[in-house]
């Protein structure tokens, strides 16, 4: 099953990583369809972040396979995985504090990624228009010339989401995008995510159940590095195993 299957964008099979004998992700398999929004939930330390790290190449897998549109990602370099069409948002907002919002978005614009390309990159009208468009989407069009350091926590999260959007990835992976946000920011983010998950496959890690119910096509419950349950939100919520380890308390 290692060749491409048009029914799935992403096929994760037998994925395992061992940190000094501790298997943070243990023989995990799941499949993501085109335009699906897959939400991964699970208690702290279940291995959710590690799964995303493995897919995007940040952590090297011990064994298994991650097949994205027919390409095996496990032996590709991080930047090659990005160019293949996988975008990743980190759990803590990662933006370039010393640069302006505009420059943050510009560095994520999918052009001039080689050394020579970066030296000769031109800020043309097309680039400017695209940055403006993304800035409007992420509610930051008035802050374009502000240094990212001066943004609020929530605005930084939006900026990082914007930096992914400008790449226009086919598979977007978001790690706890609403964590640490105020109620108002949370609502705005939900609205933002609902808009951007159209037309692409998304994997989201999230704790907020209301939010999950709202966006999930399917839910995977992770526990001790393994799939505990998988299916629609309703099915997962009624799964006795899930109730026992996660939702029950």
């Amino acid at each position: 099953m290692s060749t491409s299957n048009p029914n799935f964008v992403l096929m994760v099979e037998g994925l395992t990583v061992s940190f000094d004998g501790f298997k943070a992700v243990n023989d995990l398999s799941f499949y993501v369809e085109p335009n699906e929004c897959r939400v991964i939930i699970g208690p702290n330390g279940a291995g959710k972040t590690t799964v995303l790290d493995l897919i995007c190449g940040r952590t090297k897998a011990t064994s298994g396979s991650v097949n994205f549109k027919g390409q095996e990602l496990l032996n590709m370099r991080e930047d090659q995985i990005v160019h293949a069409g996988v975008g990743r948002k980190f759990q803590t907002p990662s933006v370039y504090e010393d640069l302006t919002v505009f420059e943050n978005l510009e560095l994520s614009y999918p052009k001039g990624h080689g050394v020579f390309g970066a030296l000769t990159f031109r800020r043309d009208d097309q680039v400017k228009a695209r940055i403006k468009e993304i800035a409007e989407t992420i509610f930051l069009d008035d802050q374009l010339d502000e240094k990212a350091a001066y943004l609020s926590h929530g605005q930084k999260q939006w900026l990082e989401i914007g930096m992914l959007l400008i790449q226009d990835p086919e598979l977007l992976m978001l790690d706890e995008p609403v964590a640490g946000m105020s109620v108002a920011e949370r609502k705005k983010t939900a609205e933002l995510l609902n808009r951007i998950i159209q037309d692409r496959s998304v994997i989201v890690i999230e704790h907020d159940m209301g939010f999950v119910e709202d966006i999930a096509t399917r839910v995977t419950v992770l526990h001790q590095g393994k799939t505990l349950s998988e299916g629609s939100m309703e099915r997962v919520q009624n799964d006795p195993k899930v109730i026992e380890v996660y939702l029950g308390h």
């Binding site: 940040r58 930047d79 980190f90 990662s94 504090e97 560095l107 001039g112 970066a118 990159f121």
Partner: protein
Amino acid sequence: MKRSFSSFMTRQDMVGFAILAVVIFVLLPISLDTFRLNLFGKYLTYAFVAIGLVLCWGAGGILSLGQGVFFGLGGYCMAMFLKLEASTPENTSIQSTPGIPDFMDWNQLTALPAWWEPFHSLAFALFAVVAVPVFFAFIIGVAMFRRRVGGVYFAIITQAFAAILTILIIGQQGYTGGVNGITDLRTLKGWDIRTDEAKEILYYVNGVMLFVVLFAAQFIRKSKLGRLLIAMRDQEDRVRFSGYDVAAFKIFVFCAGAAFAGIGGAMFTLQVGFMSPTLVGIVPSIEMVIFCAVGGRISILGAVYGALLVNWAKTTFSESFPELWLLGLGALFIAVVMVFPNGLAGVYSEHVAPRINRLFNKSAADMAGAKTPAE
């Protein structure tokens, strides 16, 4: 390829470049005799290294404590050419093997080593001045950055490299001139470089080369690559997961710094008339970082002033208190890091520039005010 000029250089940058040009091409030459001017020319050769460090360290966060290696390699490449020109069979007729450099003869070599041969050609030597440092920087860069070695570990490894090269040069006396270095350099294509006139001309050549390097550094800093370096310094993973091969950018900027240092080394050899391992090792490499820190590690112009000022202080103080100089230098470094983390450039941009701007705006307002009633 075309970026608008204003994105390459703001008005403030232009003022800074112009002031430095006046200092180097007008003020210093009219106020100094040839001996002192030559001394300042020597100081300016370290500025080449400091500019490279602004890119690597100030912008990219890559601290190299081995830039003396690249300075030395560039300097040695130049010295090898000049030495071969000085070692004609006529000049060396008293040697047991005439026609080879004197130190080779003293070390019982009877023929020029094959790897010295190409340095008969000036074109090859000039090429090597840049290519050899870049080659070594590339090897170190690939070996370190591909393995994700960074920070303190990288600094220590570059330091070790400086130590190794010094030991190698000193140990291989017959091939390198050993601890004395390559001395007694005389002419460049028949032009005597030891005369006062030649020294003045070389000072200006050095100044022009410095500006070439400054423009190159400015181009890099103002390109997207320059902003990427800053981004990498703060959030390396974010840059990587935005689709950039981070190691390639680090290798590039490290090689650029090495190329600048190599040119500086060659200009040193030409102006001072020798090259020796004392300019390659650990202490000079650390001193070069201090020039950069004092000038302000985020400013390429600051780096030039830092190199000038610290070296001028070194000459002045080490003449009177030679044993205290190293202590003084250490104290200066600590003071700068603690009190003025952005060095001279920081002092300028925080305290001097706002005043100048206010002055300009005020006089502009005065002029506007003076004009209104007349209309």
